[in-house]
Symmetry: C2
């Protein structure tokens, strides 16, 4: 990769933005120059990186001059505003928002699952929804055991999916609750301390919320299977930064044995099997938080359908569900085409 | 009911025990004499009831002399020890433990669903598992719309299912977490503050934990349908006292319309439909806690199966999931057979 890359992060002050910086250091991502970009409001903030401090700049067209790769995590509106600008300046954009995910000309990528969807000429790559990534990390490897016809998923989603502000709101509301003060949500639509609620996104005419619609559509696109049937219920639980999912996988044939599933998942990249029945030790947010791997356990036959099996999955929403997946896309891109540098 | 009943509560100092006393007052349950029973350890505790204080006695055979109805909520071991003793003394026992639930000679009752299972001569009646009650309150009324073939359930279970000690442990661990102190679980097998974990009961050879096995077996018994297929995943979330369940119901025919489901549930006793899509307002623990009704919402067709529909349910584990259901059984019993008094 020559002497390294000029890297931009749009949304540098957000929860995912901070994870990018941490990952660049931990993974020795070849950063020659780092440009931290955000709204006017956040400009001037200084963020530690690699033993120094980098000042956040207000994003402008000039921000992208000479940039090799830009990680976008500032919401769909800003992505729509700046992605083409960055590409026009020669950058490869890896976009964590929903803006381009379902655009047929934009690859939607979980590297372990479908990196082959990226064509050499692609300059804009979409990073999937966090729940879709975590789900597919566990489910995609099972395709070698049979065709997957239907997924039934209930999520246990953490505050981090709502950003740093929602994480702080959970802490603040819980502090107030424990002090006997009135709990006044600042960010969440309902009380969050010791409470849970249906995912706070708009509901469509079929009764699905926007998060659920994303999981369905993105899972089909990533697995390249428009006929995949998906039933998903998205729920926000009072956990800080890792998502869990209770998953039933229905195959086109008798479900594989638990042993076959365990063996398949044990060799899957980015997956760790945590399935200790004797010790009652299964995937939990407390153990997946801060971890790169998606944890999978509660592997068992579905007693209600001979073609189905059950799993319980936990993955860090900010890492594999967002920043890590994006950085892994960049790593593979630049490993494949070092000429870009 | 004449001048009232002599009532015993075994397990009076527990979380469910306290709810019994509250319900007796709120529902004007005809208590002539109240005997609060517990282990030697708790004897002497004074508990407020109806404007006075009642002293807890150590349970003995004599405790049940002259008792009309005894509510047991002190675990399966104590139920096995004392249920027959109480019945031999002429009491009707309503047992909240798992001790007798699957005994074919003992009715297992959710009054709104299967009170007809109680025969006039029955002296011992089992109160079902909390998740089974809350699930069936939402699901049983739908049988008028088609035969139910399969239920797929993921639970979001609160601390109260583990008793007062687990509720306190959740508060203590969370307090420590927020103060930056090390979180040391006292009751829970894993950290509980801002965390969740698979239900902490033993796992059988099929991979189901004991809670899941109860939901399957008890649902079949209560619905009197041994062929009912049930897939259930039980998870403990950091919520204090109400359980939630994400439910998919598969029928033997095309699923009923959302409108038919809403109308059916709206007229079901003990059920309240909370299903406001525009306001993003659905069942939550914060709104079901302390409420008699089981809340049902997220009513929608399952996009992955034309015969299925989805629901999200929330009910107070200590009330309809335990004490309230038991008191309702007693109310119906004594309304049906006032000669017992």
């Amino acid at each position: 990769m020559g002497d390294g890359l000029t890297v931009a992060v749009l949304g540098a002050t957000g929860a995912v933005g901070r994870e990018f910086l941490d990952l660049f250091e931990k993974r020795s991502f070849p950063v020659k120059e780092l440009r931290l970009l955000a709204s006017e409001r956040s400009a001037g903030t200084r963020i530690p990186f690699d033993g120094r401090e980098v000042e956040v700049q207000a994003v402008s067209a000039e921000s992208f001059a000479g940039v090799d790769v830009a990680f976008f995590s500032a919401g769909a509106t800003r992505s729509k505003e700046w992605a083409q600008v960055a590409v026009d300046h020669g950058a490869v954009v890896i976009d964590n928002s929903s803006a381009f995910r379902m655009d047929p000309s934009v690859p939607l990528v979980v590297p372990e699952v479908n990196f082959g969807a990226v064509k050499p000429e692609d300059k804009l790559i979409a990073n999937p929804n966090c729940c879709a990534i975590i789900l597919l990390m566990a489910v995609a490897p099972l395709r070698e055991l049979g065709r997957i016809e239907r997924l039934i998923v209930s999520t246990y989603q953490s505050a981090s999916g709502g950003g740093a502000a929602m994480m702080q709101d959970l802490l603040d509301q819980t502090t107030d609750y424990l002090a006997g003060r009135e709990v006044k949500p600042n960010v969440t639509p309902h009380p969050y301390a010791f409470n849970l609620f249906s995912h706070n996104t708009a509901i469509n005419s079929e009764g699905a919320n926007d998060e659920e619609a994303k999981v369905v559509a993105e899972s089909r696109k990533i697995l390249d299977d428009p006929s995949l049937k998906v039933n998903v219920t998205c729920v926000r639980v009072p956990v800080l930064r890792a998502h869990c999912e209770s998953v039933t996988v229905e195959f086109d044939r008798a479900a594989p044995s638990e042993e076959a599933v365990r063996n398949t998942l044990a060799k899957a990249a980015g997956v760790k099997v945590v399935d200790d029945r004797a010790g009652n030790h299964f995937p939990m947010p407390s153990e997946s938080s801060g971890q790169d791997d998606v944890l999978v356990g509660r592997i068992r036959r579905d007693p209600s359908n001979p073609n189905a099996l059950c799993l319980f999955v936990s993955g860090d929403q900010l890492l594999k569900g967002a920043a890590l997946n994006a950085v892994q896309i960049a790593e593979r891109l630049f490993a494949r085409s070092p000429v870009r540098v």
